[in-house]
């Protein structure tokens, strides 16, 4: 006999199926032919199987004007809920471009903001997959208010749970500011981010620029440094997100996941041969970084922005570390405006989420130049000093070669609170390079002397014998130990272990005033 419940169950199944189709067959097909996955497909790839619990499938939009009344927009164009990534709870929002172009109406935005509140309550990461035409114009200012609610929640969540944005389609205008307020942005090749698009720019300034030139991943990575990871397609974007999460704790009160530590670290003799004997020669510092990490596994952040500073995540004996390293083969490894900003932001992220900092130093100083000074290198460089000094996580510094002047200080020197400072025998820790120092110290003598060349060489030699070594700094206890490069991994692993319970007391305050 047919019961009421059975009939209702069938009805439920029908409604759910209809709503889960989003914009339906043709639009889904179009999504695929334009190289994109659907909102639900992206979540299916991201989350562990059968772990997605949706909230708000039945949500209805509240647009009444301009033909919106009575129009069905399934889930109001955004799929929200929670699920697991490798067994760990995450909260997700995934915009559905097949429903009204993924446009953000008020209910759409409120669903996202409510998901963020759940992430906060449960101390779990928030992942926002963006693919939206922008504000839903028919809803007017209600749509703007919705954006603002999301931004506000982004700020409330900031530093409490990791926030990751995937940009898998258009993300223009106000919409771009939610990702901007999150910790990491992963952009696909076909996606674009900008505040004002090509049409508005042409109208206002007369400049003609193609959308991908303005807001494609190359523009937003190489030029602006807005984006942290570039993915070839949606599948790769999801993989990057999963890999990134594996290094992070779920919230700021927990430690990052510990993996199997493996066997005791062994000496790696190849590390002895990477830094060239000629101090003028560059090398790729990533060769050193990857050799020190477990399995050589290093997730670099912002690979193509401010390449003179390398930042990223790795593990040592199963524990996550945040790596900051000068790249001597780019701009001599000097710190400039962009590198300072990049480094400071990364250091602050690691500190917020209990990830120890490992700094590799080979720096000739801050980059000289009129454009650097006019651009405010004083203000920007200060961010790195601030971030390192304010960081209370374990801080380990390894000086590979040059550590000159202000650059020496900025790269997590002992005085900025490094808990363990190690130097390779190739380290040169000094206020400046030997030739420049001789020029400053003996300018008058050298100008009047008649045997300029040989006297100068003698002085340079004398200066570099004295200061172009780690021994003076170690004598002053600015360096704790001088180690064989081959044993770096073992030394760092031991120090991380010893510092795992580190506490660092600071005065109570609302917040420090990082020179933004």
């Amino acid at each position: 006999m047919e019961t009421v419940t059975k009939e209702r169950m069938r009805e439920l199944e029908r409604v759910k199926q209809r709503l889960q189709l989003g914009g339906g067959g043709d639009r889904l097909e179009k999504q695929h032919t334009s190289g994109k996955l659907s909102a639900r497909e992206r979540l299916a790839l991201l989350l562990d199987r059968k772990t997605f619990r949706e909230a708000g499938l039945f949500a209805k939009h509240n647009g009444r004007l301009f033909g919106m009344d009575g129009k069905e927009l399934p889930a109001d164009g955004v799929v929200t809920g929670r699920g697991r990534v490798e067994g760990r709870l995450v909260h997700v929002a995934s915009q559905d471009f097949t429903v009204a172009g993924g446009s953000a109406g008020e209910v759409h935005a409120n669903k996202i903001a409510d998901t963020m509140k759940s992430a906060l309550k449960t101390g779990s990461p928030f992942i926002f997959i963006n693919d939206s035409g922008g504000a839903r114009v028919q809803e007017g200012v209600g749509s703007l208010a919705g954006y603002a609610r999301i931004f506000y929640q982004n700020v409330v969540l900031s530093g409490v749970v990791p926030q990751i944005s995937l940009i898998c389609g258009p993300c223009a205008g106000g919409a771009a500011y939610s990702p901007a307020l999150t910790d990491f942005i992963i952009q696909t090749h076909d996606a674009q981010m900008f505040i004002t698009g090509p049409a508005v720019i042409k109208q206002v300034t007369g400049e003609i620029v193609a959308p991908e030139e303005l807001g494609g991943p190359r523009a937003q990575m190489n030029k602006s440094g807005v984006v942290h990871f570039v993915a070839e397609n949606d599948v790769e974007a999801v993989k990057i997100c999963q890999r990134l999460l594996s290094f992070l704790p779920n919230n700021n009160l927990e430690e990052p996941p510990h993996l199997d530590p493996g066997g005791a670290p062994r000496d790696d003799d190849d590390l002895n041969d990477i830094v060239p004997a000629d101090p003028k020669s560059g090398y790729d510092v990533k060769k050193i970084v990857t050799r020190v990490m477990d399995r050589g596994d290093f997730l670099e952040v912002q690979t193509d922005f401010a390449k003179n500073l390398v930042v990223g995540f790795g593990r040592i004996r199963g524990h996550s570390v945040g790596v900051v390293a000068n790249q001597p083969s780019v701009l001599a490894g000097a710190l400039d405006i962009d590198a300072s900003d990049k480094g400071a932001r990364f250091v602050r992220f690691c500190n917020a989420f209990n990830i120890p900092l490992l700094t590799f130093v080979d720096i000739p100083g801050f980059l000289p130049g009129v454009d650097q000074e006019y651009g405010g290198i004083i203000r920007h460089g200060a961010k790195l000093l601030f971030a390192y000094s304010a960081a209370t996580v374990p801080k380990i510094t390894v000086i590979l070669r040059k550590a000159y002047g202000g650059g020496y200080i900025a790269m997590c020197s002992k005085e900025l609170g490094a808990d363990c400072t190690l130097a390779w025998p190739s380290a040169e820790i000094a206020v400046m390079g030997a030739e420049a120092a001789v020029e400053v110290l003996f300018r008058r003598e050298l100008a009047t002397g008649n045997d300029n060349g040989s006297k100068r060489r003698e002085l340079v030699q004398q200066f570099s014998d004295t200061f172009a070594t780690p021994y003076v700094a170690a004598g002053m206890r600015l360096v704790d130990d001088i180690i064989e490069p081959a044993a770096t991994r073992a030394h760092v692993a031991e120090a991380l272990g010893a510092l795992s319970a580190k506490r660092d007391w600071r005065p109570q305050k609302k917040h420090g005033l990082i020179p933004l």
């Binding site: 695929h32 996955l37 497909e41 299916a44 790839l45 490798e86 067994g87 709870l89 449960t122 101390g123 090749h189 076909d190 030139e213 991943p217 190359r218 523009a219 030029k223 070839e232 397609n233 599948v235 999963q242 890999r243 594996s246 704790p249 919230n251 927990e254 430690e255 990052p256 996941p257 510990h258 993996l259 530590p261 493996g262 066997g263 062994r266 000496d267 790696d268 190849d270 101090p279 003028k280 020669s281 560059g282 990857t290 477990d294 399995r295 050589g296 596994d297 997730l299 593990r315 199963g318 780019v330 701009l331 001599a332 490894g333 000739p364 980059l367 130049g369 030739e435 991994r489 319970a501």
Partner: protein
């Protein structure tokens, strides 16, 4: 549902939950089942970079070929023009006009800050014109070479 029960118990003892309920500060190790990221026992010399995402199981959904197809490299208007990243002295030009060069290939060496800095183009291409020669001092932003 055994799995879910375990998770619920684990969450109940996490630092997050304790902090919220009893206001206790403290750290707590979270051991998550992240086996595929675990380091294997390897000799240090065998520590070559690995594709950490390899060795995965089948994807949860069928992925259309249109999503996976390789994209052409993106171009920016300034790509063809290579400018000096730094003020310094050109000490070597490593490619000649008409030569095919790649974005990872050093085309010029500029000495600055007592360091030899390799300059590579932003994109792959053919060298159309070289504007400077060894021994020449260049400013930051000065055009060094152009690609076709």
């Amino acid at each position: 549902m055994a799995d879910d029960d375990e998770r619920a118990t684990a969450a109940g003892t996490s630092a997050w939950a304790r902090h919220g309920r009893e206001d206790i500060h403290g750290s707590h190790s979270l051991s998550a089942p992240l086996a595929r990221w675990a380091p294997e026992l390897v000799e240090p010399e065998a520590q070559a970079p690995v594709d950490a995402a390899s060795g995965e199981s089948e994807p949860a959904i069928a992925i259309p070929e249109s999503v996976l197809h390789a994209r052409p490299p993106q171009r920016l208007p300034e790509d063809a023009v290579c400018r000096s990243p730094i003020a310094g002295l050109v000490i070597a030009v490593l490619a000649i006009k008409g030569e095919r060069v790649t974005r990872r290939q050093p085309v010029m060496v500029i000495e600055a800050m007592k360091m030899q800095n390799n300059v590579s183009p932003e994109v792959d291409g053919v060298l159309k014109v070289v504007h400077v020669s060894p021994g020449e001092a260049v400013k930051a932003g000065q055009v060094l070479f152009e690609l076709m």
